[in-house]
């Protein structure tokens, strides 16, 4: 109807538009008018200024002039846009639009395994990666701008939804390539490019068509780190070489590093994926370690870490594909509160980021129907995001993040003519996009059609469903505007963190089993600032003290589990025989309920170990169970770093693809070879240091090798070895091998046949951390005996009892008691096996493991004797704060049940969709992780 307002030659243009569009939008570029004007239009410039009635003159693709007083030049085609509002063209801040399928991650098919085949992934069988040097799933040299295809149907679909500009990036592999800002119009692909490259993309997951290393989140992180370190080294090496080639060995060309070198030199930002708060914190730490400027994409739990993001000034591309309940899910499934809360609160993320002052933009994520993008943004507005801030995130905010605010993102004279004309407020329900101008090209497209279907985009569900339109779409649209009131999430019950905090606490009148000293009947423990200040009888409570009545209670030191796999998102990097470069520290999961459950079993410290898939495994993390804190707060500062080794069956088991070793001969060979390599690496480093000291110029430093660094630390006594082992013979072999290289095995883990060579273990000085009574679950455990701990102790070995299980961890006190039954260990020695002995083994006995003045106030109160099957943990303190209280727990579960019920009722009304997160490794709390 607005055509009737047209006059002059402009009408002819409309005719062209209607003929060519939508089938061949690129053909439009053939005849752009030299200039035209939009008059009588309300202008929202995007800079904060609003012009109630003004004119925009577009010439040669740019905004020539804009304002209330601007007069259209004589002869210009003029659109009288009375009743319409002009906005800056919207920017979708991360997509793979216009990229060929071979640069995209393979689709996740519903009902199938997903991501396994080669079809559509473009990644034909890539061979098996044996380590970072194979540059697995790496395409840093691929830049989006070089691969654009203008026939992607999403170009038009997005444009119709108001998008003039997108950031497009390859997304297959771990390092998919470099992103470009492109405008959604152009006769030829090259016309589309606004700026390139604008960012390097990182991912931590890859499709299964990339086999071998890395095959875990831990491995992916270690790999990304290695590649960035390698790129810096590569840059340095070539710089040195190019300065004086004569006499210097030429560095090896590496296209992956060559591309990264360029990106680093131009300080390109790096795109990192992170949705959950813990992922965001992890990515921030990684970026800091690598010295790169991060941009986070995903960010849907940003509401939990908004302050952190603001303080670090790290921009977030918030994925507007809000999490939804899977429409294919079991209607009776018990969805975790954690997930319900995430779903409830994700739409509040933009408001939270805005309030905190963090920078953010929006990305459509896996949304296939572009009309859904604005609909979902409206939900964020209802959740408290000011409409101006929403607009900014779609326009200037995004442009600033990608360094194109000087050319687009707002309606200002001189900028690219990327303009949207809508018949009302963009964020008001029912508003329609009338015209989109991209690079000065006008596209008339009043309505937005349904879903764009795509064979192998990131969300190929519609196609996979047999070409039917995705039922998501209808449901999502149906939802869109039915409820325009404010969106308020359900209040959260506080279920994490200390139950009670106090600077001064007095535990009064308990039976104190100090472990290191005497048992004290009717004893008191005074705690100040997290430390044990006084232990004895009749201690006066300071006036400010919180008093815990421990009458009829036993008090013991916090239990320490020397072998656990809780609170981690990955356990094994089993693709290689030496995975020393990976670290549990990189994948700690502070959200796992297993932490709380362990606290309820009296555990305060745990040694989180890599699994036993390979002879030299990954690095450990000694954590304090400070439930509710983030990953870095879990880490026990000052604990000696460690690493997992593994011998025997688990390491030599058949694997696909085959992996050396397959015998105990090979296991020892792997370890010996690795240490020979580490020695050479250490010597290279020393020679380099010497050369520098000698003032020699132009020496290329050795490349930093994340795999060998920890091994050098072992050689230098700066890292503990915790060796998974079963058979006496293999244990002896390892002890001798360590002696050959001049180091000591700190602990033998499992060590079920340790009783056979207890003298040798004691002589070597290794600790033994074993099970109480497990046996016969495999051949190498067939000669295991429950007397093992007692027998080794008798022979002078320092013994601890561990769990290797999220369940058994909760009653290690009982497991310790079993050493009394089997082998006659006395009560205090039994208790030591789960307190002071593991503390010594982990090198933290100056801090924890017994009740002594000056140690951390990690304490457990039991009703009933802790070495009885009837002993029940009533209270657990970490650093003097109560983290578990059975009475409080009973109260809290009622409150949590009420909250959950509200969330379920609230979400029952919400539409269901495809849960695109359902294959994500979010929480392994239910898994009984074990490396036995």
């Amino acid at each position: 109807m607005w055509r009737r307002r047209l006059r002059g030659p402009f009408a002819a243009l409309v005719l062209v538009v209607s003929i060519l569009s939508p089938a061949a939008p690129s053909a439009l570029a053939q005849a752009p008018p030299p200039w035209f004007a939009i008059s009588d239009v309300r202008i929202v410039t995007g800079t904060g200024e609003i012009i109630p009635r003004g004119t925009i003159v577009v010439r040669d693709g740019l905004i020539e002039s804009i304002g209330a007083d601007v007069t259209p030049p004589a002869g210009a085609w003029t659109l009288e846009a009375d009743g319409l509002t002009a906005y800056p063209g919207l920017i979708d801040a991360l997509t793979n639009i216009a990229l060929p399928s071979e640069l995209r991650a393979p689709a996740r098919a519903p009902g199938g395994g997903g991501g396994r085949g080669t079809s559509g992934s473009g990644a034909s069988q890539e061979g098996t990666s044996r380590g970072p040097e194979d540059r697995p799933a790496t395409f840093t040299w691929v830049t989006a701008a070089d691969h654009l295809e203008s026939d992607d149907s999403r170009i038009e679909a997005w444009r119709k939804a108001g998008f003039t500009t997108v950031v497009s990036s390859p997304d297959r592999g771990l390092l998919p390539g470099q992103a470009a800002v492109i405008d959604l119009a152009g006769e030829r692909p090259n016309d589309m490019v606004v700026r390139t490259p604008v960012a390097v993309r990182v991912k931590f997951t890859k499709s299964r068509s990339f086999r071998g290393y890395p095959n875990s989140l831990m491995g992916a992180i270690a790999y990304v780190k290695q590649v960035f370190f390698d790129a810096r080294h590569y840059d340095k090496a070539w710089s040195i070489y190019d300065a004086s080639p004569a006499g210097t060995t030429r560095p090896q060309y590496d296209r992956a590093l060559e591309a990264l070198r360029g990106a680093l030199a131009t300080r390109q930002p790096v795109l990192f994926p992170a949705d959950w708060g813990r992922e965001i914190e992890r990515v921030i730490a990684i970026a800091r370690e690598l010295g790169v400027t991060p941009i986070i994409y995903g960010g849907r739990q940003g509401y939990a870490v908004a302050e952190l993001l603001a303080a670090a000034d790290i921009p977030v591309l918030v994925n507007l594909d809000w999490p939804k309940r899977d429409r294919d899910a079991d209607p009776d499934a018990d969805e975790p509160l954690r997930v319900l809360r995430y779903r409830d609160r994700a739409p509040t993320t933009p408001a939270a980021l805005h309030a905190a002052g963090a920078r953010f933009a929006f990305t459509s994520g896996a949304i296939s129907d572009p009309s859904q993008i604005l609909t979902n943004a409206r939900l964020a507005v209802r959740a408290g995001l000011p409409a101006e801030a929403a607009l900014r995130a779609f326009t200037l905010g995004a442009a600033e993040i990608f360094g194109v605010a000087d050319r687009t993102g707002s309606l200002e004279s001189g900028k690219i003519a990327n303009i949207v004309l809508a018949d009302g407020d963009l964020f008001a329900p029912g508003t329609t996009i009338h015209t989109v101008i991209v690079d000065g090209h006008r596209f008339d497209g009043a309505s937005v059609d349904g879903a764009v279907t795509q064979a192998d985009g990131p969300d190929a569900d519609a196609e996979q469903n047999g070409g039917q339109s995705d039922p998501d779409t209808e449901q999502e649209n149906a939802e869109s505007d039915q409820d325009a009131g404010p969106y308020e999430p359900i209040p959260m019950v506080r279920d994490r963190g200390p139950v009670r905090t106090a600077d001064v606490t007095l535990i009064r009148n308990g039976t104190i089993l100090t472990v290191s000293g005497e048992r004290i009947e009717g004893g008191d423990i005074l705690i100040r600032n997290g430390k044990i200040a006084q232990v004895g009888r009749g201690i006066e409570a300071p006036s400010d003290a919180y008093v815990i009545d421990a009458s009829e209670r036993y008090v013991i030191p916090g239990i320490i589990d020397a072998h656990s796999h809780i609170a981690a998102e990955a356990i094994n990097e089993g693709s290689v025989s030496v995975s020393a470069m990976v670290s549990i520290r990189d994948v700690l999961n502070p959200d796992q309920v297993a932490i709380y459950r362990a606290l309820a079993g009296g555990v305060t410290v745990a040694n989180i170990l890599h699994g036993s898939a390979n002879p030299i495994g990954g690095q450990n993390a000694v954590i304090k169970l400070r439930w509710g804190g983030n990953a870095s707060r879990l880490l026990m500062q000052g604990a000696m770093p460690g690493i997992k080794f593994a011998l025997g069956e688990n390491t030599k088991r058949d694997r696909d693809p085959d992996r050396y070793p397959a015998s105990r001969m090979g296991v020892m060979d792997v370890i010996r070879t690795a240490f020979l390599e580490a020695r050479e690496y250490r010597d290279d480093g020393r020679r380099y240091e010497q050369a520098l000291a000698d003032g020699r110029q132009g020496v290329i430093p050795p490349r930093r090798n994340l795999k060998l660094d920890p091994l050098v630390e072992i050689l230098e006594g700066r890292r503990y070895v915790h060796a998974h082992s079963y058979r006496a013979d293999e244990i002896l072999q390892l002890l001798r091998l360590a002696e050959e290289f001049g180091f000591r095995i700190r602990t033998l883990q499992h060590v079920l046949e340790g009783y056979r060579i207890a003298d040798e273990i004691a002589e070597h000085g290794a600790g033994a951390s074993t099970f109480s009574d497990w046996w016969a679950y495999k051949i190498e455990a067939y000669e295991a005996i429950p007397y093992n701990a007692a027998l080794m102790t008798e022979r002078g070995v320092l013994v601890s009892i561990n769990s290797d299980s999220g369940e058994e961890m909760r009653h290690l006190n009982q497991e310790a008691a079993k050493t009394m039954k089997w082998g006659g260990t006395d009560a205090n020695a039994a208790l030591r096996m789960v307190t002071l002995n593991p503390a010594i083994q982990l090198g933290i006995d100056d801090r924890v493991g017994s009740i002594e003045v000056g140690k951390d106030a990690d304490l457990v109160l039991y009703r009933g004797h802790p070495l009885s099957v009837y002993g029940v943990v009533e209270m657990t303190l970490v650093d003097g704060q109560v983290y578990f209280d059975r009475t409080h727990d009973a109260r809290m579960r009622r409150e949590l049940a009420e909250e959950k019920q509200k969330l379920i009722e609230h979400q029952a009304k919400a539409p269901k969709g495809r849960d695109r997160d359902r294959r994500r490794p979010t929480d392994r709390s239910q898994a009984q992780e074990t490396s036995r």
Partner: protein, 434 residues
């Protein structure tokens, strides 16, 4: 129904061998505190008289004792019924990860005629290890998909399976179908991910298939009664014992839905049902009580099934079922760790189950649930003489089991673990070797 064990020889007690030893005809245990777990309650300074594998008298210090009896002085000790692990794999597997040592799982999902006793290995090292901790009898139960086979009630002592078996077919193990949209198929080693609708369809089909098999069995049974069977169908013969009410179905079901549906299935098809595993039984406790369906629980020391469940959901489950009035036993469903059975019961006491009930959950109740309450489960005259003498509460970890009597025989408690312990304890110290 029962294969009686023969008393074999006249070897003296001091030389009792590791398997079925020989004793004098009559065994008397006196002086101890007898926890009968029956109407007689506790008997101080009690006397138990055992003959021909059975308890013939239980009473106070005045109980008449036959002349020439072999006498054990249990003064200061405690007598309890032998512990009963009502669902285990003892004898059916030796080393978990070595598939060739396992015989509890057959191919296919329709094996109602198979019996655990056929494959029990009497020389398994797990048997002496287990009974040394007071477990005197168990049901060696097959596992698998669908109709996995019949569990065999056996004593944990005997030179041959014939000497061990009490009842070769005491229940039919059914793996109740699971309704999973996502998971990992261990047989094909592939992940699956399907819609609820697809999963539900398959689930319903599996339940319907079970129902059809029972209908087939009824027809077969009627035809057999009418003499119209041309050739025997072993599977249908076995299932006919179910439809006749002679053989209960041991329904392995852990989640709420499975438990409910399995119970309804039993009602609909008029067959006896025992729910086994039952990790979420506490969520449907009233339903189970109302339907008077007994339950054999798996390990108390388990994690909750759902992230949001209370941390102690599994620990408190026995107490909750007790309060709701559900009849239940506690079992290990394991082989090598079956010896921890008393601690699974002890953990339940720590979290609210009365001690007496916990003890009965691993002695008397499983016997009653399996219909052998007249033969096992308490210390009473007329029962099979399976009992233990301890230095204290058998649920407590530190308690030592001092005497084990199985089927009236004084059993040697020597085992692989104790032998290795003694052997390596005697290893000369390094440096002292010449």
């Amino acid at each position: 129904m029962k294969l009686r064990t023969l008393l074999l020889s006249t070897v003296t007690l001091a030389l009792v061998s590791s398997a079925a030893g020989a004793q004098q005809d009559v065994l008397v245990i006196h002086g101890g505190q007898i926890h009968t777990l029956a109407g007689a309650g506790e008997i101080a300074d009690g006397v138990v008289v055992i003959r021909d594998g059975h308890i013939v008298a239980v009473g106070g210090p005045d109980t008449p004792v036959p002349d020439g009896a072999r006498v054990i002085d249990a003064t200061g000790k405690h007598l309890y019924p032998g512990l009963f692990d009502a669902v285990s794999r003892i004898g059916l597997t030796e080393i978990g990860q070595v598939a060739v040592t396992s015989d509890y799982r057959e191919l296919g999902n329709n094996n109602p005629h198979l019996q655990g006793a056929t494959a029990v290995h009497p020389a398994s090292e797990i048997i002496p290890v287990t009974r040394a901790n007071g477990i005197t009898h168990t049901v060696a139960a097959p596992a698998g998909s669908g109709l996995a086979g019949q569990g065999s009630l056996i004593n944990l002592d005997g030179w041959t399976i014939e000497e061990m078996v009490i009842d070769p077919g005491i229940y039919l193990v059914v793996q109740w179908p699971s309704l999973q949209t996502r998971g990992f198929n261990r047989t094909t080693r592939t992940a699956f991910n399907r819609t609820f609708k697809e999963a539900k369809k398959q689930y319903d089909e599996q339940v319907a298939a079970l129902e059809r098999l029972l209908a087939d069995a009824r027809r077969y049974d009627q035809a057999a009664a009418a003499g119209q069977i041309a050739h025997r169908e072993l599977k249908l013969e076995a299932l006919a014992r179910v439809t006749r009410g002679e053989l209960p179905l041991l329904m392995n079901a852990n989640d709420k839905r499975g438990i409910r549906d399995a119970v309804e299935f039993g009602k609909r098809n008029n067959v006896r049902v025992i729910i086994a595993g039952a990790r979420e039984a506490w969520k449907v406790a009233d339903f189970l009580a109302d339907n008077e369906v007994p339950v054999i629980l798996g390990a108390t020391q388990s994690l909750p099934t759902s992230e949001d469940d209370p941390y102690d959901a599994a620990y408190t489950q026995p107490a909750r079922l007790h309060e709701a009035g559900v009849t239940f036993a506690i079992s290990t469903f394991n082989a090598s760790s079956a010896r921890t059975l008393p601690y699974e019961a002890g953990q339940a006491v720590a979290f609210g189950l009365p001690h007496d009930e916990a003890l009965k959950a691993i002695t008397r109740y499983p016997a009653e649930i399996l219909g052998v309450g007249d033969d096992l489960g308490t210390i009473e005259a007329g029962k099979i003489a399976n009992l233990i003498v301890t230095d204290g509460d058998p649920l407590e970890i530190q308690t030592q089991i001092e005497v084990v009597v199985i089927n009236g025989r004084l059993v040697d408690t020597d085992n692989k673990h104790r032998r290795l312990y003694e052997r390596y304890r005697a290893r000369p110290r390094r440096g002292s070797q010449q």
